[in-house]
Symmetry: C2
Subunit: 577 residues, 2 copies
């Protein structure tokens, strides 16, 4: 008896398997998955932990007529292997044929482009309601991790779903981990449920009216199949709580769950990265500076919403930081409003946040922080086209978002020295909310002293006729472009704007006699700082060209191509004059 993964073209191909074959299939899938993960990198722990659960899902339910929604969908690799995309996991040259998340462009088995957490139950309620309107009988399943369940949106939907009085099945994949450890009282409760084999009193899911099913052996295919069969075609809201092991089957991932949540290519035996990364990073600069600050002044607090390592705070540094490092779990809204409360209470909160997730707290930035004009600082990581490049994790919308909120200063350093000076200002002499956008790309340094009046643009190179105002990493592009222009006899003025939320009127007024002003930003042009400049200079003779990205959702793009297409290379900029 043998399983040939290449013969699995759809879930129909596993429906006839017997128990023993299902066990074999799971092992084959896990082996293949590990080989790809080692060579290619990706979400290691989340996928290894759900091999059996995914097999059981597709064995019991009938996708695509039954609808399965994966939360975050970073754990959907095995799902892809079972739904016609096995080659992308077996053939090295096809590894990149699939995205790292569910993707309707790839397969009808994938319902949504997803990458942020806590959305699956809401999406499932919509699918369930649409089904009921149509009179359909298929199952709607939301597959969600314990960490994602703590996000407010998931809790809103957990509250609403039973009100449909109809089939909706939530699989709670409890692997006892977020990216790092979980935070919040819910997790003590889940532990009690696990420790009591699902029988603990004060069951939160029963309190909300769910039929509750507990599966102790969440990596055992038989237990899972039995549980899923018991709830299939239910006429009500059901929650199946499965106890799984993150990183299952790969020793280094089972042991070091945080590091192997997501990794670059690594040696399967030792866990060591194949290409060690020793470059200077803003994560390190930020974390080390914050640890110093927290040690020097107990009022300084660092916050994160579930992404400590992404802001430089691995386990060891969290230990060094102690109780002044706060991780509220995947709860960006709570995090930003808690920062507001801390600032009001006299503390000096600095929140580190990944750009794409900052948009989950727009209302808190505006309503809680900005309206109250509280001295809270936010440091944005990967707010750049040089950062993440999955469609659901893009980092180039934050300039437009933040700079239309009153009272918030949006600062964009171009170098490490400027970044540190802005961070120091924010904790040492805060005068209101500030968002500091870490520059994308490699860490750059500057020899010239940092002028700390960040409400003013900085003239980096003086010239005439043409000015280039370029923020963040593009300051260096502008300097290069200026060199090319000089070769053609034009000496442009090069300006580092530093502040993107407001224009420096004095500086712009000094350019009114110029022929042309070019703005460049590491974000979309729409709603960016360039259009503020264009608006301010709209009644002058000077021509303004705003460079940046087109307003679109790119997916797994080549930065070089995007720079070319949007005219963001030094050559292209120089050719404008």
């Amino acid at each position: 008896m043998e399983i040939n993964l290449r013969e699995i073209h759809s879930p129909a191909d596993i429906k006839g398997l017997d128990v023993e074959q299902l066990y074999l299939l799971s092992e084959e899938l896990r082996g293949a998955l590990m080989r790809k993960l080692g060579a290619h990198g990706g979400h290691v722990g989340p996928n290894l932990g759900v091999v059996e659960a995914t097999v059981a899902l597709h064995y019991v339910f009938d996708a695509p007529s039954d609808k399965i929604v994966y939360d975050v969908s970073h754990q959907s690799y095995v799902h892809k292997m079972l739904t016609g995309r096995i080659d992308a996991f077996l053939d090295k040259d096809k590894y990149d044929d699939v995205t790292g998340y569910t993707c309707p462009r790839e397969s009808e088995y994938d319902l949504f482009e997803v990458g942020h957490t806590s959305t699956s139950i809401s999406l499932a309620t919509g699918l369930a309601k649409a089904r009921d309107i149509e009179g359909g009988k298929w199952n709607v399943v939301a597959f969600i991790g314990d960490a994602s369940l703590g996000g407010g949106m998931a809790l809103e939907a957990l509250n609403y779903a039973p009100e449909l009085h109809s089939n909706i099945i939530i699989i709670l994949n409890d692997n006892q981990m977020s990216i790092a450890e979980n935070h919040g009282a819910l997790y003590s409760h889940l532990m009690e449920l696990r420790n009591s084999n699902g029988k603990s009193s004060d069951n939160i899911f029963k309190a909300l009216g769910y039929e509750y099913v507990y599966v102790e052996e969440g990596n055992d295919i038989c237990s899972l199949v039995k549980a899923f069969r018991s709830v299939k075609d239910s006429g009500r809201a059901v929650l199946v709580h499965i106890n799984t092991m993150k990183g299952m089957g790969l020793p280094c991932a089972e042991t070091n769950k945080e590091e192997f949540h997501y990794t670059a290519p690594f040696d399967l035996k030792t866990g060591a990265p194949l290409s060690p990364w020793n470059a200077e990073s803003y994560e390190d600069i930020f974390a080390l500076r914050m640890i110093d600050k927290m040690h020097a002044d107990k009022k300084v607090v660092t916050l994160t919403a579930g992404t400590p390592a992404a802001i430089g705070f691995g386990e060891e540094r969290r230990g060094l930081a102690g109780s002044n490092f706060i991780d509220v779990g995947i709860a960006e809204q709570d995090c930003v409003a808690m920062a507001a409360g801390l600032a009001k209470g006299g503390a000096r909160p600095v929140t580190g946040v990944v750009a794409t997730f900052l948009q989950r707290a727009y209302d808190q930035l505006s309503h809680d922080v900005a309206i109250n004009n509280l001295p809270a600082a936010f440091v944005v990581f990967y707010g750049s086209m040089f950062g993440m490049n999955d469609m659901t994790h893009l980092g180039f919308f934050d300039i437009a978002m933040v700079s239309s909120i009153p009272n918030i200063k949006l600062l964009a350093p171009a170098t490490a020295e400027e970044f540190v000076a802005m961070l120091d200002n924010a904790t040492d002499s805060p005068d209101g909310p500030v968002v500091i956008r870490i520059p994308g790309g490699a860490v750059r340094h500057q020899d010239r002293p940092v002028d700390t009046d960040f409400s003013k643009y900085e003239i980096v190179e003086s010239g005439s006729e043409v000015a280039i105002i370029a923020e963040g990493p593009f300051l260096h592009t502008a300097i290069d472009a200026a060199g090319l222009m000089r070769d053609k006899g034009v000496t442009p003025t090069v300006i580092n704007p530093r502040i993107l939320s407001d224009v420096d009127k004095e500086c712009l007024d000094s350019l009114r006699g110029y022929r042309r002003v070019i703005t460049i930003e590491d974000g979309i042009v729409d709603g960016g700082f360039g259009q503020k400049v264009a608006g301010y200079l709209g009644d002058s003779e000077v021509k303004v060209t705003c460079l940046g990205l087109k307003k679109e959702f790119l997916d797994r793009f080549s930065v070089a191509e995007v720079l070319e297409e949007n005219g963001l290379t030094p050559e292209s900029i120089a050719s404008m004059v």
Copy 2:
């Protein structure tokens, strides 16, 4: 024995009262409150329901050293009466000396400007953490209604707060109502807790590790004082669940809780409005059109997140709409993502939302709706400077917010006919996400036919040299300004842009020979459609002036003054040429 309200200057003045006096005080406060509410209008039911709870809070706790955070803070009138602002409730000419929400500009007893729901627990965790860092011993209290507790941010914080292992006291004011009825499984659970005198099994608060105290008589001052005293200075997270009656003491408000949540001035005896309002409204136009649509096509669904009446769906119309009208409770994130799920499932979701609350679902608009390019429609109410004017409820940031998200068409009708045509398009032939921004001010009509290619600007009046591109209500301002300009010998082209998320390049290119283009929008200039126009025309000879609001948080402003200050009157616009 008598209580003289005028002698209450701070909570210290009620600390010495005995039980009988506290009863008297509550009745005096309620009487005064009713007189102001009848003559002035305001949040009637929420405040009448918490008279005793507020007295008990200030009797037991020691503000301002103890910190009390009111959720939404629309129920803080009695708090204001007890903290030095009694005259604003007794003297007609001082009624407007206080805002309708907590306001740190008014009093040190008010910690935050608040107006959106579900923020109090997060803010309180920040205050509690800041206190613990400082080594303080004061109490931190979050006062939150049952409806607000269903918002995701409140649930995130409910999860996190016990992890502080420190004093934090949540008063859950359970009046069994949202603005309208509650939605979600939590409310069945709260009912079970009430019905069992707090003893029901599967207690969700105990599951999360809270000390749980139930007060059946939440409008009885003695019961409340006893309960609050029992938890004061607790060293852990406590939840006090108080059962109160919305509208307590005023028959019309006790009976008709939804209508008397917030009202204009009314007759205390009959409940009848003092100035009946019979003008045509977009709420009616929207609701009636949607009811017709839902009756004609069961796939059409209307959604709201807790504000049905604000979008025209009072109780009677909800009955007419039936199960295709969905209220998810105060859960904007869930609402928008559920709309995405509905659209994916083949339904035609139309979500009605108040502008200031749309920003609570930025991530869902972007991540769930826009990235997936789903045919979901959103109709924005009060997105205008002519709408709400409390600092926490401003409606002029949505253009900047929505129009920087790819794939979403942001449409701005200028008349009822245009609005209806856009709404019909969205349900009958949707081709992706659309946000329709209802025009502010009085309903306007048009005789000319509606051109339904909404990707194109509409030339309303043809002229030369000068063009005015004015959206929404300002189209009519522009027409008036054009009249004044003609008197001076200039005949401007007047353009109704209709679409704000993208520029009509063809139309703008046709203006390149013009001397000046003026854009006008009912929102902030920063990040608005005007700056897109300025950016697009930046490399031409034409001068562009972007009119709209300055980027600032206004509070209880006079529209006439704001129009004047921002150069938005026909006279001011005409004077530019």
